[in-house]
Amino acid sequence: MLIETGIPTPEDIQSVTPSEERFRKGPVAIAECFQKIPCNPCTKACVKQAIRVEPDINETPKIDYDVCNGCGACIARCPGLAIFVVDKTYGENEALVKLPFEFLPIPEAGQKACGLDRSGKELGWFRVEKVIPGGKKNMTYTICLAVPKELAMEVRNIRVGGYQNG
């Protein structure tokens, strides 16, 4: 149970996973935010207004997957670091996972980082495609990681440091 371990259950994840049909259309944001807490900056982060927290601020966010284009602007804006973008159309065998990151050192594009699942378990070494700084005020980095397609819904963090070149 999430409330005992901090790890969302497969059912929790299933409840926010877009359809395979939607995944085939390109990148999409997924909010792994399962608890009703008073919080709504994600709604302001989305220029397309694809994220709604309704009827009141305590509701969990609902992303309209038909409106979301997976731009990732919400990733660094979520105070709970609970939003990820998954692009299963990235390559033939690879998906792109964009995840929030707030540790030093920050990996560089082209390096490989050790990918972790929701329990911190190592899943392998994956190529960092891009690193997007959050800026002076936001300060949260977005790491874009190329992972095997079957791990697109598993990889949610990277291990800090020890990044491999090439």
Binding site: T5, G6, I37, K44, I57, P79, N157
Partner: protein
Amino acid sequence: MIKDTEILVIGGGPAGLCAASAAASLGAHVLLCERDYVPGGQLVKQTHKFFGSEKQYAGDRGIHIGQRLVEDVANNPNIEVLSEATVLGMYEDGIVTVLHDNRHLKIRPKKTIVATGAAEKFLAFPGNDLPGIYGAGAVQTLMNVAGVKPAEKVLMVGAGNIGLIVSYQLLQAGVEVAGVIEAAPHIGGYLVHASKLRRAGVPIRTRYTVKEAYGTDSLEGVVICQLDESWQPIPGTEENIPCDTLCLAVGLTPLTELCWQAGCDMAFIRELSGHVPIVDENLETSVPGIYAAGDVSGIEEASSAMVEGRLAGFSAAGALGYQPEKAKELCAAAADELRELRSGPTGAKIMAGLSKVAAKQKAEKGGACIC
């Protein structure tokens, strides 16, 4: 010499800063006393982003919110800030005494807003006096204010928001976190904070407590054990966790000494984490002219403390005759904001506590006995 002031705000944390700005925005003159070197309260070490809505600066980091509130106060000509000023007493004749710059000041405010915040609770177990055992707040201060790496390897006790957040910040500072243990059956803090820690590899174990801490000159390790459904240790579940630091994040208790001394009606309300002053809808206590805002009247998130501060500030200024109509509207808007923040499941406990406060307040106003 007695210094007269219209509104005295005691405490420069989120509630006090917002109270000062709110009251001054209506034209009142405010003196804010802060016992620390600089105002900002606990915001000065909150490096994480805050929850809530835009109105409470959600999405901004606590440190940045603190800077903004401190700047607002500093730039307001109606507000005088006295740092390193500890309020010592509030007396029947309305005089408030303050220790500042080695002098004993006497202040005579027309209204007083008590925003003294809270203190960390401690936990009783063998070995709890060993060096290396800290409140989580102390570790957070060492790390985020003083820039000192506080430990090599930490065990965190308490999976409320403070325990979860400080654990995450310890990881950011390069400290190993052996785990977070929690005596309750559930994680008490926001689950997104828990998930953040968990995917960084930190185990969170509910129904666990500290059996004992050991070490010769300082902490060398902690023995933890599992608790059964009636919170009793289960024999044979002991586990040894070697670590040089044990962090206690087992809750806060309101800092109410001044309210007691001022003669405010007080009540023990579990949901609000201790004895709290009984306040009305404008956050005025049973002593006319004394208001309470923020953690002093019940432990809650900083976002609520800010809004409570504003509510108390507008109330006090309005009561002094500064734009009373506008003050009333602003109070109503702040009350709505508070209702919204507290309306979800995570606000249920606070709401239950506040309804007890309201019941006691009404009973008292009606002259009925509440004992």
